[in-house]
């Protein structure tokens, strides 16, 4: 029988936003369909409806001609749907095999779990995918990439015919993305339906067959990947042509004296890290996930203890015991992990944006509410945060808009930052806003300040930074200028010991 998935007239409202409006399209077996759209366009909401996590106000889902009613994730799983969210859903304290067979572990005749059968079945699946994972390993011990592979295997084991990925590559390095794409191709060859959400256009062209574009909760375009190009996609998504992002960047080329000097830095994770950053410079930190880039940022910021070496900022040796001191000295760190390190999810956009500058917006004993609201409005305008109000709880924003709130916090106009450290600042942000972020980085450097720009997206670090430090296993393995750098050369430095 023909395999297909169809959305018919899906509508969904949240307070103050119509997240989805009359969405109808179809996806066939053996196809990878990209869901594309700006932050807040409604992609994740559509996947949540598909997974039974949220119920639509209107419309429905048809699988192989049969209308479906999902009132809970369990129903969707039974109907053959697996959605792999950006946040991992594995139980970290359980082994790989227990995770893969969660809830449906093979039983012995006595009713206990048949470990032997469990291990064997898991090994079979692992072999099929050709992965170096052991069935007994704890899921929490695996790298993010392999955790994701385990989730895919779980979907595979359930024999799901529809598998959806919500920004799966955001935490992955290039080599890991290659493994993921091999898996997706395999799923496709087996005739399954794959939905794929990502803000990285190059991936869309690498892996998908069809593209559905959403804008402001509406379905605006259905395209065949092989018969379209980036311009057309961006035009459909953003509604205007944004041109060549990197070529259009207004860069700063006036370098000043040395702002930051890191000499032989040692921490729990870092060995002998040295580099300098001058005023007006954008310094990229490249490397695979786990290379130690985040640790460099945290050491400078006073978030982790320094065990050896020296950091000099504006000519003076610094060793902050708390981030508070770093902020006072003029250093800002926009952290990588937005849920754990970045946001206070249950508080409003306004409260999240003013966090580091509360002391500067006081009026006598009390906080100056008007100044606070002004800062929040500024950030919303600067990064085009999609929200009905500055008082919306951050948890209810789309992923990309949450990321924009963190950016808004660390670049708000009450900050007196001289060194801005951005750790994966464009994670989950749409193409239009990415260009704004790059320009913000260059403008900031242009004012005579310094920027450290950490990113796992090679193209982006290479094209935005003036100079690129490459790291591997806690050490610096390369220091190249933008002119010298190519993706191949930087990747080679990131992989050699």
């Amino acid at each position: 029988m023909e395999q297909y998935l169809e959305f018919t007239g899906i509508g969904k409202a949240y307070p103050g936003v119509q997240a989805l409006r009359d969405i109808s399209f179809r996806c066939d077996g053996g196809e990878v369909l990209a869901l594309l759209g700006e932050n807040g366009a409604g992609k994740s909401t559509l996947l949540k409806i598909l997974s039974g996590d949220t119920r639509p106000d209107e419309g429905g889902i048809i699988i192989d001609g049969r209308p479906q009613q999902f009132s809970a994730p369990y129903d969707a799983i039974k109907a053959g749907v697996s959605v792999i969210y950006q946040e991992r859903q594995l139980v970290p304290a359980m082994s790989v095999m227990e995770n893969i067979f969660l809830g449906e572990q093979p039983k012995t005749s006595l009713g206990t779990i048949d470990k032997k059968a469990l291990r064997q079945s898991t090994q079979d699946i692992i072999d099929k995918f050709g992965l170096p994972i052991r069935p007994d390993e704890l899921a929490g011990r695996l790298s993010v990439a392999y955790q994701q592979m385990v989730e895919i295997m779980k979907a595979y084991r359930r024999n799901s015919k529809i598998i959806a990925f919500d920004e799966p590559t955001a935490p992955l390095a290039d080599a890991e993305i290659a493994i993921l794409f091999d898996l997706i191709r395999r799923l496709k060859e087996e005739g399954r339906i794959v939905l794929y959400v990502s803000h990285r256009l190059s991936e869309i062209f690498r892996i998908t067959d069809k593209i559905a574009v959403l804008k402001d909760g509406r379905f605006v375009k259905y395209l065949t990947t092989s018969r379209t190009n980036e311009q057309e996609l961006i035009q459909a998504m953003v509604g205007r042509d944004i041109g060549d992002t990197y070529a259009n960047l207004r860069r700063n080329d006036k370098l000043g004296d040395v702002l930051l000097e890191v000499c032989n830095l040692e921490t729990e994770y870092l060995r002998d890290v040295s580099f300098t950053l001058r005023r007006g410079e954008v310094l990229g930190l490249a490397g695979l996930v786990g290379a130690g880039r985040t640790e460099v940022a945290r050491a400078i910021f006073g978030a982790d203890a320094i065990l050896g070496g020296e950091i000099r900022f504006e000519g003076e040796a610094i060793d902050f015991s708390e981030p508070k001191d770093a902020i006072e000295a003029g250093i800002a760190l926009c952290p990588e992990d937005r849920k754990d390190q970045g946001l206070v999810l249950w508080r409003s956009i306004r409260e999240n944006i003013t966090m580091p500058v509360l002391g500067r917006i006081r009026k006598g004993l009390f906080l100056d509410r008007a100044a606070e609201e002004h800062l929040a409005e500024e950030a919303i305008a600067k990064y085009a945060i999609r929200t009905p109000s500055i008082n919306k709880i951050v948890r209810e924003l789309s992923g990309g808009n949450q990321q924009k709130v963190i950016l808004g916090r660390w670049t708000n106009s009450k900050m007196t930052t001289k060194l801005l450290i951005l750790d994966e600042p464009t994670k989950g942000i749409d193409v239009g806003t990415k260009a704004e972020v790059y320009q913000m980085i260059c403008d900031f450097a242009g004012e005579g300040f310094g920027v450290i720009f950490i990113s796992s997206e090679l193209t982006e670090v290479i094209n935005v930074s003036d100079r690129i430090i490459v790291m591997r296993n806690g050490r610096v393995t390369g220091d190249v200028t933008r002119r010298e750098a190519t993706e191949e050369s930087v990747l080679a430095l990131a992989m050699t010991d």
């Binding site: 508070k324 999810l345 966090m355 906080l367």
Partner: protein
């Protein structure tokens, strides 16, 4: 902004539900016994609620900041006993009160040290400390009540404002207003919400979760000791062991009033409603002269109800927001 209003409405509507429940409880007990709303009984409720109320203010701030102190009522007893002994030893009563408040702060600081600096689990650390304090109370007093015959001292607990409203009740109201202002209008108050919401993010934003939480524990200890002093002043004597079955009252009141067990949300308005609800409920059971064991069961049930409400509250915030927006349209 249009949505501001709807948000405020939701917050109000949450308290509206609580007020409705409170009204229902009061009405029910009134129908069961018409004495329930007599002036004398009302003054009695005010008296007793101010004791838990003063403690609940400290407990609520602590909960919002992501901490908890299960030794609070033991700290209160300690406060009463210590103050009584100091007065008995001939120290002028105002000075005794101040010294006792300082001692309460020290005990709060001890909990903070175990929790915030040594990293112990707040439940375990504070229960352990609670036992220590109980022992200290009994040792200090030989397990006897400490009479406090100093008339000046009685003013805190036994006098009335305008000859009709019990002074402790007025003190409680003033505290609620002051702490409400601190929570909602000041930087320190905001910091409490932020560290309760996500202490890692707060630290990276330049806040000092340890320091703030330490202040909250100390504050909790001071207010607990103060409430114990008020009891002693009202009874004209300090007992080392009464009150102990209301171990959880302050926390129950805070959670009933919508202060989240998970930290990061709640406020003094809700806290007041929680205090009223808890005390009108307890008093209602008294007025019905229910056997005390049954009262204990009913109070336990109320705590479970409060925790359940908190659970649904966390989960259904999304829903209530939606309801708020729907109201607006």
């Amino acid at each position: 902004m249009g949505n501001d209003r709807s948000l405020r409405r939701v917050i109000k509507s949450k308290n509206t539900v609580l007020i409705a429940i409170l009204a229902a409880v009061v009405l029910m007990f009134y129908l069961l016994n018409s004495n329930y709303l007599s002036g004398d009984n009302l003054r009695g409720v005010m008296q007793s609620m101010s004791i838990t109320g003063i403690m609940a203010v400290g407990a609520a701030c602590l909960l919002i900041g992501g901490g908890i102190d299960l030794a609070t009522s033991m700290e209160a007893l300690f406060g009463g006993v210590l103050c009584g002994l100091l007065i008995k030893a001939g120290i002028p009563w105002p000075l005794s009160v101040l010294l006792t408040l300082a001692a309460g702060g020290l005990i709060g600081g001890a909990v903070a040290y175990l929790v915030a600096h040594l990293g112990m689990m707040p439940f375990i650390a504070s229960i352990a400390l609670s036992n220590v304090i109980r022992g200290v109370n009994l040792v200090m007093t030989n397990a006897q009540n400490v009479p406090v015959p100093t008339e000046g001292f009685w003013v805190l607990g036994s006098s009335n404002v305008l000859n009709i409203i019990p002074t402790p009740f007025v003190i409680m109201l003033i505290l609620l207003v002051i702490y409400g202002l601190v929570l909602h209008k000041t930087q320190f108050g905001r910091n409490i919400y932020l560290i309760g919401g996500n202490q890692f993010a707060a630290r990276l934003s330049g806040l000092s979760p340890k320091k703030i939480r330490t202040i909250l524990y100390v504050n909790n200890g001071v207010l607990a000791a103060f409430s114990g002093i008020v009891v002693a002043s009202r009874m004209h004597s300090a007992s080392p062991s009464s009150l102990s079955d209301s171990q959880m009252d302050a926390i129950t009141a805070a959670i009933l009033g919508g202060v989240s067990f998970m930290g990061g949300s709640g406020g003094m308005g809700g806290c007041l409603i929680g205090i009223l609800l808890l005390n009108f409920f307890n008093n209602g059971l008294n007025v019905l002269s229910l056997e005390s064991h049954w009262q204990t069961i009913a109070q336990g049930a109320l705590l479970i109800a409060a925790l359940t409400m908190d659970y649904f509250n966390e989960k259904s915030r999304e829903k209530s927001l939606k309801a708020g927006a729907a109201l607006k349209q």
